[in-house]
């Protein structure tokens, strides 16, 4: 009972909902397990078009492994025409370039309105394609999209430059201009959310974009494309394509008319993209992987720490770049913490994502599932203690049992490599200095968390952790106003918040000679 309440509290705390969560009964009414797929083509210049070669690829339902539909597969030539559309929409004198800044905000608010109107349908489609529980799509993902777009809608007429106190007879000021045509590549774990994290700053700053959806999860993005047209965005401002990484994504990254790339995905691919961008001095922002440490001190609120630590790892089937995948627990409370975590993990309900009682759906693909099972094997081999789970769940779809390892050592593969699955690692520590050093001993640096009631400890440890987001007594707080991004190999640049606008802007400094300058 307490844990069910905590779960809701955890979700509320974690993602700071501003919309009502639904009761079970009303959720059931909304759920359409077989939502119609309406859009399967590439969206270029506000039109849906077949790929030039006519090729398509299959989109699967990860809960069953069955094919949902086929979707257009963008080739290099399709990328070419999408880039051309975005470039045209960005030319000097275009409707987009001449629009009043506030007008861009009106369009973002309208898109938010339309997503709100179609919330139930989009949530069902997201669950069908991605496998995340419907109650998460409906109560977390889609409302978050709406609040992100509304947040960015407020920015276009507020991005001031500066008038500079220069020496000499000059009038000097900065303009913040859009960086230009932007290529944006998003992954499959939060298709709608990451789509909106990309649309927001691009539109707010006045850029035009080509967004490449992940080949596993193109369906909600293509539906949103229709809403973009309905909202009234001029043609070519936002173009949305579906296609793979090695051909489609690569040609977008390499395209000489694209001024900036924003990529969210694995560190491995992020490095390849970084290298390609460097060849053309292309601006790049990267949101990559993580192996985020979650540090639980003896003076924490233990109920809260157990529940949040569970959520920090298992949320979204463990498929979060910032998953708390190294749980360091103070030796003084270690046994108690492990025991409670076993109970909580065993209670985690795996099943049909459209079932209201389900907490965990399938992993995204067979490949991911195999990778996770392989890492679980490595945990066993390395000598970590497997306390529950460890196997595939069922024989249809790509489900993995919620899995818990304790007595994990820092050098185990499961403690160093990103698993991206429902596998929790608990490690023991003695002192602050020791755990901070171990937490920072990683190439990654995306997030971290601290559980303690002590003010001093909270501040000192937060200051010491080398991570872009540090959560204290909470986890996965994604308020649009707060920046998110990685230290080290977890990425470059920040998303959300005012900080995100910089990577979509170029600063121009204008200096005019005048006859006499006065202060």
């Amino acid at each position: 009972m307490l844990s069910k309440l905590l779960s809701k509290q955890v979700l509320n705390q974690g993602l700071r909902l501003t919309t009502r969560t639904l009761s079970t009964a009303s959720q059931q009414k909304l759920v359409d397990r077989k939502p119609d797929v309406k859009y399967q083509k590439l969206f270029i210049n506000n039109e849906f078009v077949d790929s030039l070669g006519g090729s398509t690829f299959e989109v699967l339902n990860p809960a069953t492994g069955d094919v949902i539909t086929e979707v257009a597969d963008a080739s290099e030539k399709d990328i070419d025409r999408a880039v051309k559309a975005a470039k045209d929409a960005f030319r000097l004198g275009s409707e987009w370039r001449r629009m009043d800044p506030a007008g861009r905000g009106v369009l973002l608010n309208r898109l938010a309105d339309l997503i709100e109107r179609d919330r139930a349908y989009l949530a069902a489609l997201e669950t069908l394609n991605n496998g995340k529980p419907f109650k998460d799509s409906y109560n977390i993902d889609i409302p978050h999209c709406i609040s992100v777009l509304r947040y960015y809608a407020g920015w276009p007429d507020k991005m001031n430059g500066k008038v500079l106190p220069v020496a000499g007879d000059f009038f000097s000021y900065t303009r913040r201009e859009p960086v230009g045509v932007v290529g944006q590549i998003i992954p499959w774990n939060f298709p709608m959310i990451l789509l909106c994290w990309k649309i927001g700053p691009s539109v707010a700053t006045g850029c035009t974009s080509i967004i490449k959806l992940d080949e596993h999860t193109p369906l909600t993005g293509l539906y949103t494309a229709k809403l973009i047209e309905e909202a009234g965005f001029p043609p070519g401002v936002i173009n949305i394509v579906s296609g793979d990484g090695p051909h489609c994504g690569a040609s977008l990254v390499k395209h000489p008319d694209v001024h900036k790339i924003a990529f969210t995905g694995s560190t491995q691919v992020g490095k390849i993209i970084g290298v390609e961008c460097a060849k053309q001095v292309k601006r790049a922002t990267l949101e990559l992987g993580g192996k985020s440490p979650n540090i639980v001190f003896a003076d924490c609120d233990l109920d809260l720490a157990v529940e949040m630590s569970h959520f920090a790892l298992f949320f979204n089937q463990g498929q979060c770049c910032c998953a708390g995948s190294r749980t360091y627990v103070d030796e003084k409370i270690y046994d108690e913490f492990v025991q409670r975590s076993i109970e909580r993990t065993k209670r985690r309900k795996v099943g049909d994502p459209f079932d209201d009682s389900t907490e965990q759906g399938p992993q995204i693909s067979h490949e991911q599932m195999d990778k996770i099972l392989d890492l679980i094997e490595s945990g066993r081999r390395n000598g970590a203690k497997l306390l529950t789970g460890g196997e595939r769940h069922g024989d249809k779809g790509f489900f993995v049992q919620p899995t818990l390892f304790a007595d994990v050592q820092d050098n185990h593969r499961i403690a160093r490599e990103e698993i991206f699955g429902p596998v929790m690692q608990i490690l023991k520590f003695k002192s602050i200095e020791e755990v901070v050093e171990r937490a920072n001993d990683s190439e990654y640096g995306l997030a971290a968390s601290v559980f303690t009631k002590d003010l001093d400890k909270a501040i000192v440890v937060s200051n010491a952790l080398r991570a872009g987001s540090v959560w204290v007594n909470t986890y996965d707080n994604f308020d649009p106003v707060a920046p998110f991004g990685g230290f080290k190999h977890s990425g470059l640049g920040r998303e959300k918040s005012e900080y995100s606008l910089d990577s979509y802007s170029e600063t121009k400094c204008v200096t005019m000679k005048i006859s006499e300058r006065n202060s």
Binding site: R16, T18, P101, A102, G105, N109, S147, R150, Y151, A153, G154, W155, D157, K158, N160, F171, L455, D456, I459, V460, P480, V481, E498, M512, I514, S515, E516, R517, N518
Partner: protein
């Protein structure tokens, strides 16, 4: 052509009481006051007259709504923004009724009322976008300290607005105050309370918690003073005359040193250089003075014209003034409605007399238009000298005063020779000259090759006795939050 005989539509006046705690109240003292239609001089209706006792009630409601545990204080910033956007949506929804009500009460042409309402809705939307973007700072200090600032709402804000742009002035006040999380007691001008009271119903409909916005119709000396002098109001914002602005600041200081921001009058110069396109310059100058029946704080009421183009400019300006259609603001041909009331009307006619007496040349107009209501013909005086009354005092009526100059250094000095400093304009294509004017003119807004161009994102306010503090833009927020510095020592 349009006649000054006004035929106002029959409008249902729904709200004539005092709006406190999302409820309508009769005045404690039981008195009402008449609201006049300036197009006819006739009474529209009676409105409850708030006095000190009603202000006390409003303060109690506002203080409660500002309590740290209250729904308003606990509301997430983005949710505040959503309420504001809902209010803006309702303004646009009811624009047909509201614009007619604004015109009935204020006399401005209906098309202008519509423009004002769109502006007001856009202003609220603009500030709705700020609610979740007001940030404090973390500050690098000693290694064993954490230092940060919070930008907190000030608290109960008294806002006193004028009659020249009733709805727009209300939006300029509500926007930044709500964006920063304050609670409000707003007193509309006693001449024009009707649209503010209707907007109160929209604020309630939008879903603002009770006590967050309270609207108190009443006069200046009793009701306005009660606000400025109240011990439990934390800030007062006033837009109006310099004379009353000084009283507001004095009352604020004497009582509880409440924070004060003032938007006062002006005698703004518009300087037309020798390289100006005369037709364009005359159009700008015409609009710069006569817009809103010249009832704007920024009216370009000193038009300095270079000697080389003076005669041509005068000829063109007379043409434009004589073409200006004065009449029934409900007639779509009308460009200029009546002045706001008898007192203003008499004062303006007095200035016309003074201009004549001082020896300025009356080129056109110079008298009443029609026989009902408070209409005045567009008037131009030329050969005006800097020391004439019409060149020094704020008239707030349709009298253009044209002065001649031939030296740019000299005209800047003359332009700055005023206790006012609200706005200024210059018309020239010369890059260097325009930059020099922009630097040297002592005014809160300098317009180059345009006039009256106001946008929600650019700050607006006065130098010198034209006021202090800025409205609009990010700067507009600064008057509505208190900075708290927090220092945490690490053990």
């Amino acid at each position: 052509m349009s006649s000054t005989d006004s035929n106002p539509p029959k409008l249902d006046i729904k709200y004539t009481q005092i709006f406190i705690n999302n409820d309508w109240h009769k005045a404690v003292k039981g008195k009402t006051f008449p609201v006049i239609n300036p197009s006819t001089g006739e009474e529209i209706c009676q409105v409850e007259e708030a006095t000190r006792a009603d202000v006390d009630k409003a303060v109690e409601a506002a203080r409660k709504a500002f309590d740290v545990e209250s729904p308003w204080r606990k509301l997430e910033p983005a949710a505040r923004g959503n309420l504001m956007r809902k209010f803006a949506q309702l303004l646009r929804r009811d624009i047909d009724y509201l614009s007619k009500l604004e015109t009935l009460n204020n006399g401005k042409p209906v098309g202008n009322s519509e423009g004002d309402i769109y502006s007001a809705a856009n202003c609220i939307d603009y500030y709705a976008g700020w609610t979740d973007k007001i940030v404090g700072e973390t500050i690098p200090g000693a290694h064993d300290q954490v230092i940060f600032t919070r930008h907190e709402p000030i608290g109960v804000c008294g806002q006193i607005i004028p009659w020249n742009f009733p709805i727009a002035m209300m939006a300029w006040k509500l926007g930044p105050a709500l964006a920063c999380g304050n609670v409000i007691i707003l007193k509309p001008a006693e001449q024009t309370p009707l649209t503010a009271l209707y907007c109160a119903s929209l604020i309630k409909e939008a879903g603002f918690p009770p006590g967050v916005v309270n609207i108190i119709p009443g006069d200046g000396p009793e009701c306005g003073h009660a606000i400025a002098a109240h011990e439990h109001i934390d800030k007062v914002a006033f837009t109006g005359s310099v004379e009353v602005g000084k009283k507001v600041q004095e009352a604020a200081a004497k009582s509880n040193l409440k924070r004060v921001s003032l938007e006062l009058g002006g005698k703004s110069p518009l300087i037309i250089c020798e390289d100006a396109d005369i037709d364009y310059a005359a159009e700008v100058a015409h609009m710069a003075l006569f817009f809103n029946a010249a009832q704007t704080c920024t009216a370009a009421s000193r038009t300095y014209v270079h000697a080389k183009i003076y005669d041509k400019f005068i000829a063109k300006s007379i043409e434009l003034a004589q073409q200006r259609i004065v009449g029934d603001p409900f007639d779509s041909n009308t460009v200029q409605g009546p002045q706001i009331n008898e007192s203003q009307f008499d004062k303006i006619l007095g200035y016309i007399e003074s201009g004549k007496k001082d020896g300025a040349k009356l080129e056109c107009g110079g008298e009443r238009a029609g026989s009902k209501g408070y209409f005045i013909k567009p008037t131009i005086f030329s050969d005006v000298k800097d020391d004439m009354q019409i060149a020094r005092e704020e008239i707030f009526g349709p009298i253009m005063s044209v002065l001649k100059f031939d030296s740019y250094d000299d005209v800047i000095k003359r332009a700055n020779d005023s206790t006012f400093g609200l706005a200024a304009g210059v018309i020239t294509n010369d890059l260097t000259r325009s930059m020099m004017f922009a630097q040297r003119l002592q005014a809160g807004t300098v317009w180059v090759n345009t006039y009256h161009s106001v946008s929600n994102q650019a700050p607006f306010g006065g130098f010198k006795q034209s006021g202090h503090g800025r409205e609009l833009g990010k700067y507009g927020l600064e008057s509505y939050y208190e900075v708290k510095t927090v220092v945490v020592k690490l053990v």
